[in-house]
Amino acid sequence: MSEKQSSAWSPSSREIQRRKSRRAISRKQIGIAAASSILVLGTLLVILVTSPGWETVKATFFDIDYGKEVFPTVVKGLWINLQLTFIGGAAIGVIALGLALMRTTKSPALTPFRFLATAYVDIFRGAPLILIILLVGFGVPALGLRGVSSNVIFLGTVAVVLTYSAYVAEVIRSGILSIHPSQRAAARSLGLTSGQTMRFVVLPQAIRRVVPPLLNDFVSLLKDTGLVSILGVTDAVRAAQINASRTFNYTPYVVAAILFLLITIPLTRYTDRVIRQRTSAQNSEGAI
């Protein structure tokens, strides 16, 4: 019956008038936004190009010809960062999940693992990433262990994975703890064991809930792979550094920055969209 009504409905003259007013308001708002943007951004641009050192800055940071010349080497370096991000990301996911499960388990047999996992997270979340990279990158080869690669890319990846696993484990653990105990009670009362309850009921909901913060961590991971350059890995940062110190022209750094942004900005926008969808899906008052 309600469908029949809706197909026969046409807006009243009052509603048509209201829509006209709404359109007028939004036209006015767009106009104000445009004027304000032009004024603010225009002023900033004028301040920048009229500053006394602008010509020097332009020549040493924004040299378009030199930028084009170093572009291929920097892109080649970025490829290393991307590989590191994806391979490292996969390893981080597995290790972090294991750590999160160890930290949330109540099984008495796993008690020592719970302590170890807690200690691990405390250490690697508390120490600066750059120190971990230096310690692993220079410390492990010094140990002279047989069978352990002293390849700097490998060691750099290991260091990043060690640190990020601790971060991501905490994110996953917070997701697990956020699932209401009534879900566990329902699963257990159906006869599921605690392991089955975790696997089929708690974890699927927990992971869904932490997708937005995990995407944030993924963006950070991509940027932080640039830190392995201190071990001498020729990634985008290192490639830019080599070129910059050869000519004392810093354009390669700008090129590297732009390349990172080209990847991270869309990723961040995507993350924001996911978060927005999540919030509106969970909120019945989504309009506010």
Binding site: A185, A186, S189, G191, L192, F200, Q205
Partner: protein, 248 residues
């Protein structure tokens, strides 16, 4: 007629607060025992103790003659024989209606997926929910969600069904559809223990009504005796208040 459930001198406290004291109860096969009493009188705690979601401080619980309050018992094995329906439904939001129902039959009872699905569809048809099989719980009304929760606990053919104020989160119209479902189960001969505030419903399904007050059963008997001719002054007082609230 054998006894499905037997509670002997149950005691349970949370910290200093004594929730159940010296409580005994016998539930014969194919009967419905209704627990009534004010909020905080221990109804929900009693049901959670039976399901071993809470451990008791003293006393014994027997399921089909086997003591399940023994700490050495396999709790998962006990819960496989019990069904529990919660006040807040507690459906799994990430699973469809059908997946909610078949999770335990497949993972716990080792049924094949086809077999579990067929049985679930049979139950859904019976409770008029077949068209909701592939929906997610949050698309359903409260009454539909609670009926799915009832089906979920039925899908494993429990020996005993525990229902914890299953209509308290619903509006009066939806209450009715859930109560109809419970009445159907009763006529099928399902053994049940229910906590409820619906006195009219209690009259219809109860073989025995127990009035709980401060963690003990202060009056018990048929619905006629306890609800319409109460002897204990505390029962009389409670029912007077229920009556004033228009719930009888």
């Amino acid at each position: 007629m054998s006894n499905v459930l037997e509670l002997v001198n149950i005691r349970k406290s949370f910290g200093d607060e004594l929730v159940l004291s010296n409580l005994s109860l016998t539930v014969p096969e194919h009967t419905a025992t209704v627990l009534i009493g004010a909020s905080g009188s221990g109804k929900s705690t009693l049901l959670r103790c039976i399901n071993l979601l809470e451990s008791i401080d003293d006393g014994q619980i027997f399921l089909d003659g086997q003591e399940i309050s023994d700490p050495l018992i396999n709790v998962d094995d006990v819960r496989r024989r019990l069904g529990m329906v919660f006040q807040s439904f507690n459906l799994f939001p990430h699973k469809t209606v059908l997946e909610n129902i078949t999770l335990s039959p497949i993972k716990v009872h080792g049924k094949s997926k086809d077999e579990a699905n067929a049985h679930a569809m049979h139950l859904l048809k019976r409770f008029d929910l077949a068209d909701k099989a592939d929906q997610y719980p949050d698309r359903l009304s409260g009454g539909q969600q609670q009926r799915v929760a009832i089906i979920r606990s039925l899908a494993v053919s429990p020996r005993l069904l525990l229902l914890d104020e299953v209509t308290s989160a619903l509006d009066p119209v939806l209450v009715n559809e859930v109560l109809t479902a419970v009445r159907d189960l009763k006529s099928d001969g399902m053994t049940m223990v229910l906590a409820t505030h619906e006195m009219g419903f209690a009259t219809q399904v109860a073989d025995e009504v127990c009035f709980l007050e401060s963690g003990n059963i202060v009056e018990r008997g048929t619905a006629e005796q306890v609800l319409h001719n109460p002897q204990n002054p505390k029962t009389q007082e409670f029912l007077k208040r229920v009556h004033q609230a228009g719930r009888l």
